[in-house]
């Protein structure tokens, strides 16, 4: 026991002597969580201070183009710059000056009106009703294209959002035009006989336990995800610590002393687990006390704190197990540091920190199931967003603990095999 206490004391001293390292260990994850949350928050906020500049070319100059223009303006997400030439707009987008150009084709309003009138006349004639108005000239179906030029660097999610938005606007104006055409054909232009308001509306409901609804927000999503990312980054300093001991000769001395590798690793595990928990605490404090001051939603914890720390402890253990294994296998810091950093990023990607697991290809989803970061993230989301009980996160924390046991056991086995006399 005394040897373990001395090991813990030594590891704590080594950490505290490296003030720069400590600062990086604690400050960088905080900077990370604030930066990512701010960026994601502004991306999804409906009322945003920053607006995306969009080139708008109106060749129609009619009711439809005005409706789309007003719709884009009303979204508050776009700053609209009007241009007259489609070529100029396309060039500006290609150069990357603008992310998007919307080109409304010539006579869109007129042709839409003609198309709808034709259709309405056809419908009414089937019922034996004749229109009083002059018959439309052409019965030829005309297809019109609203062209959207996207900057090649534009991400798919943004493209989809814009396309969906414009489709919705066009669909709304088509519906309204159909209603108007019917009224016109029926000679009831002055009275409102059709209610053009949407009949079907949507209501977002967040299923909740214990009569406490947590509204998911950008902070509730980001704090656990990036706290987990920071926890797993402990792999890098821990593996460097082990490799450094091997290279500076202290490990040689320890090998000749009557102390087990298990005791040495236990000392490191306890100290680095403490670091993980301090990191996690700082993240929570930032989410609770700092986020509201910088315009971000505050994270809500309720009475979940013990369960959150339980998940953090097991996530920390999993990360430490991996760090111990990497440090034991690596011969140089040049091997351990870049590998550790890259591997954490891969684990984060597989774990669903950036892209939700359900949106991944099937193969990656299968891989995700064996990523400890995925188990950790699921457990954190369970506690943060679903408000589950201890028993519901038990499978995830068991997996995290088993991961720690297996990686540490491999490290000890490798060490003993390599150093067996």
């Amino acid at each position: 026991m005394h040897k373990l206490v001395a090991s813990i004391y030594k590891e704590a001293l080594l950490l505290t002597r490296d003030i720069g390292g400590i600062a990086i260990l604690f400050i960088m994850p905080l900077v990370l969580v604030i930066t990512i949350t701010l960026i994601q928050d502004s991306t999804f906020k409906t009322v945003s201070a920053s607006k995306i500049p969009v080139v708008f070319v109106d060749k129609d100059n009619g009711e439809v183009s005005q409706y789309i223009f007003n719709g884009l303006l009303a979204s508050n997400s776009f700053e609209i710059i009007k241009k007259t030439s489609e070529e100029e707009a396309a060039t500006l987008v290609l150069k990357g000056d603008y992310q998007l150009a919307v080109v409304i084709p010539e006579d869109l309003s007129v042709d839409l009106q003609k198309e709808i009138s034709n259709n309405v006349e056809n419908v009414l004639s089937k019922f034996g009703l004749e229109s009083d108005t002059v018959k439309t000239e052409s019965k030829i179906k005309i297809e019109k294209e609203v062209k959207l030029y996207f900057d090649p660097a534009t991400q798919g999610t943004f493209k989809s959002a814009v396309i969906n938005g414009i489709e919705k606007m066009v669909s709304q104006i088509e519906t309204q035009s159909i209603y108007k055409a019917f009224q016109s054909q029926l000679g009831e232009e002055d009275t409102l006989i059709f209610d053009t308001k949407s009949f079907i509306t949507f209501k977002e409901i967040n299923p909740s336990n214990r009569n406490q609804e947590i509204k998911p927000n950008v902070s509730q999503h980001n704090v656990p995800a990036w706290a987990l990312f920071a926890i797993f980054f402990i792999i890098v300093p821990l593996s460097i610590n082990i490799v450094k001991e091997k290279n500076q000769g202290t490990f040689v001395r320890l090998q000749t002393q009557p102390v087990s590798y298990f005791t040495l690793l236990a000392g490191k595990t306890i100290v680095y687990l403490g670091v993980c928990l301090i990191q996690f605490t700082l993240m929570l404090l930032i989410g609770i006390y700092v986020f509201p001051y910088i315009g971000l939603p505050k994270i809500t914890i309720f009475e979940r704190l013990p369960l959150l720390y339980l998940v953090a402890v097991f996530a920390g253990l999993a990360a430490i197990g991996l760090g111990i294994l990497l440090g034991t296998l690596a011969k140089t810091q040049e091997q351990s540091a870049p590998f550790g950093a890259t591997f954490v990023v891969i684990l984060a990607a597989l774990g669903g920190v950036w892209v939700p697991v359900f949106a991944m290809p099937k193969g990656m989803q299968a891989l995700s199931n064996i990523s400890p970061m995925n188990w950790g993230l699921r457990a954190f989301y369970d506690v943060f967003l679903r408000k589950t009980s201890f028993f519901e996160v038990l499978p995830e924390i068991t997996m995290l603990f088993l991961f720690f046991v297996v990686t540490s056991a491999i490290a000890i086995f490798y060490y003993k095999k390599k150093n067996a006399i």
Partner: protein
């Protein structure tokens, strides 16, 4: 007593044996010098005896104990002073000694008293609370030595303990080791400083290409060889003047 029997070591991918079928007995309370050119096999032998690497074949005992059966007991009765400074640079001398002493199972006042005693003897009391990274080479060597003898080992292995230190530090280290030997510690020591070995060692063995070429009391070895006046002459006459560079 250390008894070595037919001990050999061949490293992975190496063409030759680093040590080959070595037989050697080192008596209790002896200061025994392992001398030889670079790559002769001195460090390999010390590393095997201190459990850092395993031999390819052969066996050895330390005070009648074998590693396979009594690893923990052997580790408790030996001390190793490695060639490099096996210390944590950002910790102070006291912190390093506290940690390594604790790993030998020393605790409380016993450990503190031993640390203070040895720091005083080696002239480092004033610097006990200074970080090792700020020490000179000689000071680091002395802390390196103390870290290996806090538990009063029966056998002390030293791999070139005076390399890169000034004359004053070397003198303090040698006197200190002699005192340890008088107190009953068996010392096995490697060095390139042959004059130092001549004065310091009770017996020496000259190793070359993994084999013991000669062994005995330094003065006897000098007498046995013609036209030799000191151990360095003996060494050159036996191992030759050709360079022993290897990679």
């Amino acid at each position: 007593m250390i008894e070595i029997c037919q001990l050999s070591k061949k490293y992975k991918y190496a063409e030759d044996f680093s040590i080959s079928k070595l037989d050697l007995t080192i008596k209790d309370e002896e200061i025994f010098g392992l001398l030889g050119p670079n790559g002769a096999g001195k460090t390999t032998l010390i590393s095997i005896l201190s459990s850092l690497i395993k031999p390819t074949s052969g066996h050895f005992t330390i005070n009648g104990l074998t590693y396979k059966e009594h690893s923990k007991k052997i580790k408790q009765i030996i001390g190793i002073v490695p060639q490099e400074y096996a210390l944590y640079p950002t910790l102070t001398a006291s912190e390093n000694l506290f940690y390594f002493g604790s790993m030998y199972g020393l605790t409380g006042n016993v450990l503190k008293d031993k640390m203070n005693y040895h720091l005083e003897l080696l002239g480092l009391s004033r610097f006990a609370n200074k970080k090792v990274e700020n020490f000179s080479g000689g000071m680091k060597r002395r802390v390196n030595l103390i870290a290996s003898i806090l538990h009063s080992p029966k056998v002390l292995f030293l791999d070139e303990p005076t390399v890169g230190v000034d004359v004053q530090s070397k003198n303090v280290i040698i006197e200190y080791l002699q005192q340890l030997n008088k107190d009953g510690t068996t010392i096995v020591y490697t060095s390139h400083h042959l004059n130092e070995a001549e004065d310091f060692c009770h017996r020496v063995a000259i190793i070359d290409k993994g084999c013991i070429i000669t062994k005995g009391i330094p003065t006897d070895l000098i007498k046995q060889q013609k036209h030799t006046h000191n151990l360095e002459d003996v060494f050159l006459s036996i191992t030759g003047k050709a360079l022993r560079d290897h990679a």
